[in-house]
Symmetry: D4
Subunit: 251 residues, 8 copies
């Protein structure tokens, strides 16, 4: 659109239909839009079929359904996170292909799945109560075109469960590791693999876990190299970043 508009303006100058001064004025006001479509270009591979993700918290079911419908006018697939069942129903009515991932509290609409990249993203979590966060990461990575393998309930209190997975973990391109309480799992995993580890603190715990702060601090202080961290319970952010990284592995 902008590109068309700009081409026309340039042609108009060339053809003498617009003066240099008038064009100058127009171009200044266009500058942003020029920047805009440049940004779209740079982001096209990401955005193609996968533009904006809806964060449902604080939006009404009706609002989410409306935004979802609008996004799907220009895109094949859709991702909406932190959605409760009421929101899902509203979206479902508007978009019958909508699916609800109950544990992850995520809505997806997939008209045309993205082809899967070769490598895998491993998603681990320490306990069963971390699953909602881990699943949010897994669903996000999956819909963005990644192969995802899940390894749940491998907390360090029973270390052998994790060690038994050693060979498998070594085959992943990226590892997302979710844990609450003392948040030690990413450090242990980071010591076992030579790939990027994205640590996701969860709010699982009580008392001095302070809603995930204990786990967050532990992960930020990881003695294992190659560990980076996202916000508490931010499964989506981990899945998204992991997808960006895995995408690099397949350039």
């Amino acid at each position: 659109m902008n590109q068309i508009k700009l081409t026309k303006l340039l042609a108009d100058i060339r053809a003498g239909r617009t003066s240099v001064a008038a064009a100058l004025r127009q171009l200044k006001s266009l500058a942003i839009h020029d920047l805009d479509f440049a940004r779209v270009d740079g982001h096209r591979s990401l955005r193609k079929g996968f533009p904006e993700v809806i964060y449902c918290e604080g939006k009404t079911p009706a609002q989410v359904a409306k935004i979802a419908a609008k996004i799907l006018q220009h895109n094949e697939n859709l991702l909406a996170t932190r959605a409760d069942r009421l929101t899902y129903r509203a979206v479902k009515r508007a978009l019958p292909k909508a699916q609800y991932h109950a544990a992850a509290r995520v809505i997806t609409v997939v008209h045309k799945p993205l082809p899967k990249r070769p490598g895998t993203i491993a998603v681990l979590c320490a306990g069963t109560t971390d699953i909602p966060v881990a699943d949010e990461a897994a669903v996000t990575a999956d819909i963005m075109g990644n192969r995802v393998k899940k390894y749940y309930d491998v907390g360090i209190a029973g270390l052998h469960r994790l060690l038994a997975l050693n060979d498998e973990l070594l085959t992943a391109n990226v590892l997302i590791v979710c844990a609450g309480m003392e948040g030690a799992l990413p450090s242990v995993v980071g010591g076992l693999v030579d790939k990027p580890v994205i640590a996701v603190p969860t709010s699982v715990g009580y008392g001095a876990s302070f809603g995930g702060i204990a786990a967050l601090l532990a992960m930020l202080n990881s003695c294992a190299s190659g560990v980076t961290v996202v916000n508490i319970n931010n499964g989506f952010g981990a899945g998204f970043a992991a997808s960006l990284i895995n995408q690099l592995a397949n350039k």
Copy 2:
């Protein structure tokens, strides 16, 4: 003393040298002292040969030397923690048998070592910078009559170092585990053994370790059962508690 005083009072009543009313008044004021000598009795086994420990921080070398000399009038052995080299020299002048444990910053005076109890206390630490805290725990446990085994630099980033010690760790009665940064070591150790683990957060780290808070929170939130925690850098407290526990094993 109090006992003598009390016996005399009772004899005076019996002999009619003191009225009931007068004795009543005296007994009320004695109550505390009665309680006092009772408490001394209860603590005798602990205190015998090992009374008060001097915490040197905030005391002058001269003050420490004076208190140390006073304690040794009634006791065989002495422990003074958080002592710098100047304090040590002051104590050494007063008490030539004094020894300085430089890494632990601990002064000991041992006239007659306590006999060693049969079981062992294992002292682990994650990195070499945690050694001062671990050593404070080890020296404390040692002077209180325990066999101590040290396993240093076994942090979880190189997990195999710890796993290689598995059999040895299983033979300890109590385990003191010191770690800074993300403080995950006590959780991993707690998952491997079936004995009490005393976790000691250290102030090793930077940024979001907040002087040991990250490690402290991690340890308080340990998903491994049987882990209890002491204050940041409190090697002495861990050694003392471990000694009380190990003492039980040898009743």
Copy 3:
């Protein structure tokens, strides 16, 4: 199982049914499982009749009932903490022997009680509102084979209540001391006894108690030696650690 598998492999090698190279490959993949059953061995005394404890928070009643049934297939007894009444009913339907300790919010199933060890674990709490936490500790210690004595509502504002218990407290092997608000009780108790004290901060209080932080900090800074600390409201953790300690007293 693993042991059987391994024995068979070794026999196969010996019998020439497997080449050294093939066995080598298999053994590497077995390594974890070897470790695994080794750990099982080390933990057997603990786990026998008492394996995994279910933390119910964040699990549905149906999930808890299912896990409980599974655990009881291999074990005599069961402990499930932080269980509400709905969860209890679901477990009760599946396991008619289930009992609900309402104050402690704990479910137990005891097919064959563990024999009681000789010494006792004392459980103290400062006020009546601390009882749920104290009871969680007491039920945990009890089901794990310990004699438990409870001393409730002995907060330091009426110090004589505590002092009156002095002699009894001196007979316990381990003391669990629960307190909210200013959390001073463990320090006072720690000054009276010569046994390990496990301090449990509770979330009782308001305003600057910050949900138990004030009590937690007080306990971590206890001037009485021999005091270790668990997470806020973690009665289970205190009961478990006390049991490990009391077990040592009876080796």
Copy 4:
């Protein structure tokens, strides 16, 4: 002064020397000054002989000496807190009667001591490292005309030391109780007496004492009634408030 000015204005109106409108304008601008002298009147009893106290931190020795000299032009006595030895020397040169209370880091100049009120203020502290704060309180209360009794090193880890003082404590009008670490002493004292207790948290401790926060929180959450709290290390504030209270007892 203002009063004189005001009287004159009213007389001027009465005498017809000033119109109502002009007086109205003047009175509006006088309002503040009227208020001002009223406030001075109300505070006279307090300020007489004891006006402003100099907080030396952040002031140069020369500045303190100058302010001190100025205050003494209108007053008999002077109190300057948080003063180092250099500051003392500067004050001493200017005011030869100046005295330095080294532990308390307080400078006093007493030309004419205030007569002592009948009742006593008890100042307690838990450990020897709390003495600077306790002494600041004691010196403050003393110079303000109170009888002060000091009970130092009566921390709760050796409870009998405190209980032995029970009768004496009951005779005080107000009690100032200083403690660092877990800050439990004011609660214990508050449970023993029926007089106001002013709790002073000190920064004594390390690790999770967070420079006195642990003690501060403990004191704010005291389960003993009648305990109020001042800022960390604020011995002066406690001494001042205790003096105001003790003054009431002698009205």
Copy 5:
């Protein structure tokens, strides 16, 4: 009771009915109880007609009613704080004289009001939403035998409201000042009067008031001398301490 028991013992010794040795044994075990009744003696003036105060939060209506009935067996009056209406109804059924102070959420039962002491306690609050806390303080002070004057909604944003009260405030013996948000009122009041000010931070506010922390910190850092602080929303504690202080004024 204990006094009777002790008198009898002493009489028995005197009469030769008990040997010195036997008496010695009994006295040791009595020591605590001796201490106990000594404490009761010391506290009698306070406790007479006014013993234990019930903190209702975390107790069922039935529990509160039962404790209330028990306390009233030995006392004339009763105070129960943080009581909701349901609790009140339960108490009312058991004790028809019970009264509910709705704003303060306090229950009182007054069979025989304490005679009022001569001086007054002033209770101020900054805004209308602080009234529950201020009323808790006022009701507490009132039932304990003090004349209370309330000055509500005198926050510093409209300073003239406070200044207009200047003369009245100067007549109070003690001032309780409640404020949320920036908690500046106690500092301003403390600068106007020469009597003890008890500052009560309230949880009124939002965002960076952090449930009263902002006000609490402000009050602890008050630049006005003579201000001491209690826990957030602790109207009762302020009322109690103020009563202890006002009682001194009337010795």
Copy 6:
């Protein structure tokens, strides 16, 4: 009123109906009221038609309606913030002209709108969930007589949306910028304009946003000059301050 009273007093003095001494007494007690009406004078331009704003949180609908009615007796317009729909209904019944701004949770009653000042106040917010806070600011600024332009959902993740507004933003006199999460928008805006920016952190976010603390800290640390900050979610405060500033531009 006060002015009338004062004029009368002065006239009485002049006429000899009041002695100088009696007038002096009266004037002292009036001093505050003098101050008061002086303050009213200074504030008249602000307060004319717009006195007190009702903060509804913690007040019942009936209370708000009553206060609102009272305010409107002397004023043309009314603003009540943090009002839920129930409160609105109560106000509406009493004052039929009341309007409810649902997103902003604000009630306004406008009998006679203030004339609009020439310049504009721009209100920006980062995401759609920040709108309630932004709207509170906008409604406040509007009713106080300012032209308001809203630029919503211009968060920095899609920077071109903001850059496209560059020219418009440069025309505003003051800019109110609301953002949650990382709170970066005010810094970016502050770098683009040369007018005062009032930053409003919102509680939008989760996990380590800590209810708006992350955004608050970001804004306080803004590297762009000219940015000042109000409390979390304090749209009203921003609107009020912006109005005071914009008023200056139109003196």
Copy 7:
């Protein structure tokens, strides 16, 4: 420059020297620069004679001197904040007109003072130790072309000092109010005036002032409307924002 470049490009297209396609490519890459010079235009009034301010902390004296010299090539005046005396000397050697404002720790170089705007900015501070922060604000506002009036040491503990200034304060266009400790001064001032108040928390205080956090929170929670806040000790930021506001008053 960019404008020239752009004009030339457009002329080239018009003249047929550049094809539409080639121009399109160039324009896309120009987009940013177009935006850039637009921004420069928008900021010109601010930047003219007063561009970048040097924050000296973390820079060597040599670095500061070099940056200062570079800035002065294009500007008349210079402001460098948080400069120690060493830095000043380095700047002085390079720029002999440099002046050092010792209390404010600010260096200024004024070749051609900006003409003073008519209105005044009032700078208040609570105590003498707040003066460095207040002076930083004052020097900043002064060099940016504002008349500044200073009212120092007007803390609320002696409220009459502030009230006496009431009339003067009402004449200022903007008020900068600096305070440490409980930070109540901006609230009190904000209640007295009807102009924007910029509150500057200072790190003056100890203990629970937490380096200025107490004052910061108090100011953010101010119950007086029209108060906005800058970072702790950020005198420069307050002076800068006040200048932007005062500038509006003189459009």
Copy 8:
């Protein structure tokens, strides 16, 4: 070694030199070592030529030199972080090829540089005081075989500086973005690119930056997707993680 040992054991079984039971015993004890060499294999590609990185803080120069020499016995290159100049001199004496990167406080020894991978890692920082952290990241990424491009001093207060780099940033595989104060730069960059962004909060700032906490929280709450975070000032961690990611891009 372990592999050889294991092969020998298997051969012994096969040859009948070891019984199945004896082998079983040996294998159990070997389990850990089996695991160990498996881990080494998995990590070989990473560790080859680049094993352990020395964190110098808390180690003496002599210790660092000794560890460095030991590491270089088996490796070509070495990285030591947080090294002061004294440490560098000690290393330099032992290892003449050592180089000191003064800003980054990093020592490197490069005997044989790793070949550079094709893609680039972009390292950005907001201000010049962030350079030490950015340089630590850059040196780390460089020595690990990556092409690094640095874009320093591109903070958002002058947004055009960043926008001018847009095209270049789009060519990087990974972006490391360092910022202190409000830490907004990673969010802005994350909105411009479609590659993984590693955010590094720095401790640059004062007051409410709380040593980097403000920036850390901002980055954790980034509204831009694809941003992960490391500890405050952890340039090394960012460089290491970026290298792991960039390595994926070149598989």
